[in-house]
């Protein structure tokens, strides 16, 4: 709210200042007047004085004249008469003259105006006097004649005339002066009079100013008072105008006050209006003075309806049951009467419509000088609150009932382990009554092995048990140690953190488990024993060992045997599954190559597969897994046999493997009848087969997949099936992988180009290499290869099945021409010689590339286990290629080495069936190789074909023997001869010497 602006540029004119002005100004004025008057009066006086002075001077001058005249007269008289009586005035005059002159002088001198005349007068007077004196003297001295003469001469008269003339002049002057001065005096007087008049007028006026000021103030005070009155009456106030004095201040303050009051009033009203609580005010008689809207709402009355009515009688005189509640006993009435505050959490008011309102209220007296002049009551509808309270109580009761009645034991402790709550079930379990547990530390319940420090034990246990279901041992009151299952959790309330455990005594369960375990082992023995006899007997009969039997008998026995086997299988499966599911199947986890698992499984199933006319394709893979090899084989066999069973004749079951993150996924795909969507999860359950007749037709116990699932899940993996009805199924499972990459990283930046016509070969090769971290570019035709070669700094190209009908040689020439790539022999990499790799693999290595790649590839081969029937050793890589190809074409697997050391190493690692050695290895290594190999008993009998560029002497030949040894001279050998020797050496164990 804006205040009337006080002018800031001037000095604020407060009332006191105004008062000061009112007094000071006139005073000042008066003083000034007085001063002026005084000044004027002084002037007047002055003028008057001078005026008088002039007259005085004249008088004085007259005096002098008179004296002179007297002197003259006296002198004459004396002189003439000689009467001494004339001498007396003469003496007297002569005596007085100086004084008179002097005083005339003085007087004249006082006058600021020039006084030459006066001076002359004086002079003349003196002269006359002198003259008179002379005369006198003359007379005195009896020179009367002289004296008389003197008089007669009239010097004196001249002088007197001069003097008189001068006197006249002087007097004229003086008179003029006197006249002037008189005028001045008159003027002064007039001025003075005028001044007095004016001054009086002004003084009168001045006297009016205070009047004005005072009236102004009075007016404004009156206006202020009016404003106050107006405010009191609720009317708007009039502005007071600008001003800087206390009244303006007062006005502003008043305004502020009024605004504050107004806003306070508004706030109060707002509060009262928006309160959710009802509020009403009663006077000393209990009559309603004011009620806020909420009260109106709650009670159903409007304020103007019941203002002035006694509230008790209106809303509070009836109890809920209808009985009267007299005012005398009503505590609310007592508020006013006794001046005390009353509160209630549950009471009832009667609404306008007669219905009851449950309330809680507070009532306080309005006090004035210690006496109550009324009361204010606030109340709220506590129906909700009561409902809530009731609900809460009920809920608490329910929860308590739950806790009390639940079968499981419940113990709640605070964080340091002191028991806060136990339920009856817990009491029963531990054998302590509630009172003996609550407030005690949990250490009371720990088993003996928790000693010496139960608290530490508990703390560790808590760490393991929190948030899980775990099993522990506890001690009952009677000392008995027993096992229990604990579900431990924590929770927070506003009293803090709590730990709680649900406890279940599992002694019985343990017992049951123990019995079950015993049962299993008993059963396994009990079931298997008769089965042994059964199977054995039937086997013997059907094996024909016990004599001939008729065909029919045989057939029947075979039926029995088959079913016996099936029964055995079932028993095994059940026991397996039981163990698996209860987690007691012990898996021997180790690193195994997936390949070995797949191969073993495939081999196992091969017989059955070919019986069904179904082929199985197993991929090449370098993946390794962590698992129990036998169990995993069991899984794969299971999946494969299922796949075979449900594949159509001449169909194929395809196995694939891929790495997905930390897992290896094995997929077995068939083109059988598929699994309907609804059954995809169910088939992994026990005894579930897709069709009920399956068990009969296809065999199988229905447990196979359940067992697979259990095994896979025991490995931490998962199993599942993707299938479309009628379109085949792909069963997959995942198990943990072991790192595929070995420590030795191949050069990553060398892309390998694969030229292979057949897509499955391409895929297999690509996978092989990518698993090893080599970037791969796969091409199907020569045409595709060329740009690939151009685009990358290819060092290696793998040529599988030559594309498009070209011969291997044509390819070779083509590639050599294009990219300067030279072919190198690479052995079929042992384990990987299987359907999906091409029969021959020609490796082209750019001459310019590093040896390291070749070494790496060679080394790779080592990892997979040395296989390869023939070990070719030659430093001439081109020749190696030629030889290798020749052998490969004949289905003979080869390994290569380009140095003697390498040859020895590989030979020792796994002895080949035949060693083909170039004697001309650098540094005489060729013969070294033989010498070293001769040391090893395993290799000393190795068939050896020595390839040499020169003829050898007999002694040399002798020295170079291992097992059966042949010699071939390079220049003279033909391919055919070479091959013949190789097959010879590989075929027969007996050595035959032959020179070629």
């Amino acid at each position: 709210m804006a205040e009337p602006a006080a002018p800031r540029s001037r000095i604020p004119l407060t009332l006191s200042r105004k008062a000061l002005l009112i007094v000071a100004l006139p005073l000042l004025f008066q003083i000034l007047l007085v001063v002026a008057f005084h000044a004027m009066k002084q002037r007047y006086d002055e003028d008057n004085r001078w005026h008088l002075h002039s007259h005085e001077v004249m008088a004085q001058a007259d005096g002098v004249l008179r004296l002179l005249t007297e002197v003259e007269a006296a002198l004459r008289g004396y002189v003439l008469t000689g009467d001494p009586d004339f001498a007396k005035p003469y003496d007297r005059a002569m005596r007085e003259m100086p004084a008179a002159l002097a005083s005339l002088q003085v007087r004249v001198q006082e006058d600021p105006r020039p006084h030459e005349s006066a001076g002359r007068l004086a002079e003349l007077a003196r002269q006359r006097l002198d003259a008179a004196e002379e005369v006198f003297i003359l007379k005195d001295t009896a020179a009367t004649e002289k004296a008389a003469a003197a008089i007669r001469t009239g010097q004196g008269a001249e002088l007197m005339d001069e003097f008189r003339a001068e006197m006249d002049r002087f007097n004229t002057e003086e008179q003029q002066l006197a006249a002037d001065r008189r005028a001045a005096v008159d003027a002064s007087r007039v001025r003075l009079n005028r001044f007095v008049l004016v001054a009086s007028g002004l003084t009168l006026l001045a006297a009016l100013t205070p009047l004005l000021l005072v009236s102004g103030v009075a007016r404004r005070v009156e206006a202020l008072a009016q404003n106050v009155r107006r405010f009191g009456a609720g009317e708007p106030m009039r502005p007071l105008g600008r001003g800087t004095d206390e009244i303006a201040e007062l006005d502003r303050a008043l305004r502020r006050l009024t605004e504050d009051l107004a806003s306070a009033s508004r706030r109060l009203t707002t509060v009262l209006d928006s309160m959710g609580e009802g509020l009403y005010q009663i006077d000393r008689q209990g009559r309603l003075v004011y009620m806020n809207p909420a009260a109106e709402r709650l009670l159903g009355y409007r304020l103007d309806e019941i203002r002035g009515q006694p509230m008790h009688e209106l809303i509070h005189n009836r109890a809920p049951d209808g009985t009267e509640r007299p005012a005398a006993t009503c505590p609310l009435v007592g508020v006013v009467r006794d001046g005390v505050v009353q509160r209630s959490t549950e009471d009832h008011f009667v609404r306008k419509d007669g219905s009851l309102l449950t309330v809680q209220y507070t009532s306080a007296p309005i006090l004035s000088d210690g006496r109550a002049t009324g009361a204010v009551l606030t109340f709220q509808d506590s129906t909700e609150r009561q409902r809530a309270e009731t609900a809460l109580r009920e809920s608490e009761a329910t929860q308590r009932a739950i806790v009390e009645n639940m079968l499981g034991g419940l113990i709640v402790t605070e964080p340091s382990g002191f028991v806060e709550l136990v339920n009856p079930a817990a009491e029963t379990i531990f054998g302590y009554p509630r009172e003996e547990l609550v407030g005690q530390h949990l250490s009371l319940l720990v088993p003996p092995q928790a000693a010496p420090d139960p608290r530490v034990y508990l703390k560790t246990a808590a760490g393991k048990a929190l948030g899980r279901i775990t099993e522990w041992e506890g001690r009952r009151k009677n000392g008995e140690v027993f096992p229990f299952e604990l579900s431990m959790f924590e929770f927070h309330t506003n009293t803090g953190r709590h730990f709680a455990g649900s406890v279940r005594d599992i002694s019985e369960r343990r017992e049951v488990e123990r019995l079950k375990k015993e049962f299993l082992s008993t059963v396994s023995h009990e079931l298997r024993t008769p089965l042994t006899s059964l199977r054995g007997s039937l086997g013997l009969i059907s094996g024909g060992v016990l004599g001939d039997i008729s065909d029919e008998a045989r057939e029947v026995v075979e039926i029995a045997e088959r079913n016996c086997v099936r029964l055995i299988g079932l028993v095994n499966d059940i026991l397996d599954l039981e163990r698996l599911e209860s987690g007691r199947m012990e898996l021997r986890l180790e690193e195994v190559t997936l390949s070995s698992i797949l191969q073993r499984s495939a081999e196992s199933v091969m017989g059955m597969a070919s019986a069904h006319g179904v082929s199985i394709k197993v991929p090449a893979t370098l993946a390794r897994v962590r698992g129990d090899a036998d169990r995993l084989v069991q899984v794969v066999i299971n999946l494969l046999s299922n796949a075979v069973k449900f594949s159509p004749r001449d169909g194929a079951v395809t196995v694939s493997a891929l790495t997905a993150g930390p897992w290896v996924e094995v997929r077995v795909a068939d083109r059988g009848r598929g699994v309907p969507a609804a059954l995809r999860d169910a088939i992994f359950e026990r005894f579930k087969q897709v069709e009920a007749s399956d068990a009969r037709q296809k065999g199988g116990t229905g447990l196979g997949l359940a067992i697979c699932k259990a095994i896979v899940e025991q490995h931490g993996g998962r199993i599942g099936v993707e299938s479309e009805e009628g379109r085949g199924s792909t069963f997959w499972f995942r198990v943990p992988a072991v790192g595929v990459l070995t420590e030795r990283q191949p050069p990553q930046d060398v892309p390998v180009v694969i030229l292979e016509q057949r897509p499955e070969c391409r895929a297999a090769l690509t996978m092989l290499l990518s698993e090893r971290g080599h970037p791969v570019v796969a091409a199907a035709t020569l045409a595709e290869t060329v740009p690939a070669l151009g685009a990358h700094a290819v060092s290696l190209l793998l040529l599988g099945t030559p594309p498009g009908g070209l011969s291997a040689r044509e390819c070779r020439e083509g590639l050599r021409g294009v990219a300067g790539l030279e072919p190198l022999p690479i052995s079929a990499l042992g384990e990987l010689s299987h359907p999906d790799l091409p029969e021959t693999l020609m490796v082209f290595l750019a001459r310019r590339s590093e040896d390291s790649l070749l070494k790496a590839l060679q080394a790779d081969a080592e990892d997979e286990g040395e296989t390869g029937d023939v070990l070719l050793v030659d430093d001439d890589q081109a020749l190696l290629g030629v030889l290798a190809r020749q052998l490969l074409q004949r289905g003979i697997s080869v390994r290569v080495a380009t140095t003697g050391r390498e040859a020895v190493r590989r030979g020792l690692l796994k002895p080949p069936r035949l060693l083909v050695l170039d004697l001309g290895l650098p540094d005489g290594e060729g013969s070294d190789v033989v010498k070293q190999l001769q040391q090893d008993p395993r290799l000393a009998t190795l068939p050896l074909l020595v390839y040499t560029g020169r003829d050898l002497s007999r002694e040399q030949e002798e020295a170079l023997r291992l097992g059966p040894t042949r010699f071939l001279t390079k220049s003279r050998a033909t391919d055919d001869q070479f091959l013949a020797l190789v097959s010879d050496l590989m075929g027969s164990p007996s050595p035959t010497e032959e020179r070629a």
């Binding site: 082992s521 396994s524 023995h525 079931l527 298997r528 024993t529 008769p530 089965l531 042994t532 006899s533 059964l534 199977r535 054995g536 007997s537 086997g539 013997l540 094996g543 060992v545 016990l546 055995i568 095994n572 163990r579 012990e586 021997r588 036998d630």
Partner: protein
């Protein structure tokens, strides 16, 4: 080759005998209990003993102990026959000093071969 079969089950002894004799062409003696087996072993000095694990009274391992403690029979290779095929069980039995472990039910037709394989591997 002479094999001693120790098993408390008649039928199993019979089947095993037939399998070993008729298919494996071996000579067979048998005993129905641990103690009897030990005696027979002393008397007959077989080349190998097929020993059932679960027998009442003196069970397989105890019988093995017995055999080993007697210098006459200590060196005879013993092959356990067990219905429990658990790897741990097999290893346990092996660790007791058996030459091998065969599981039941066995195939009478191949029993002899299996026995031979175990002995040869030794």
């Amino acid at each position: 080759m002479k094999i001693l079969i120790i098993d408390d089950e008649n039928d199993i002894r019979r089947i095993a005998r037939l399998g070993l004799e008729r298919v494996g062409k071996m000579e067979v003696v048998d005993a129905g209990s641990g103690p009897e087996g030990v005696e027979k072993a002393r008397a007959e000095k077989p080349d190998a003993v097929l020993l059932d694990v679960m027998m009442p009274g003196q069970d397989g391992p105890a019988t093995l102990q017995s055999l080993r403690s007697d210098p006459l029979t200590a060196s005879i290779p013993v092959i356990f026959l067990t219905a429990k095929a658990l790897t741990s069980e097999v290893e346990r039995l092996r660790s007791l000093g058996a030459a091998g472990v065969l599981t039941k039910p066995f195939d009478a037709m191949t029993l002899a071969a299996q026995v031979r394989a175990v002995l040869e591997a030794k």
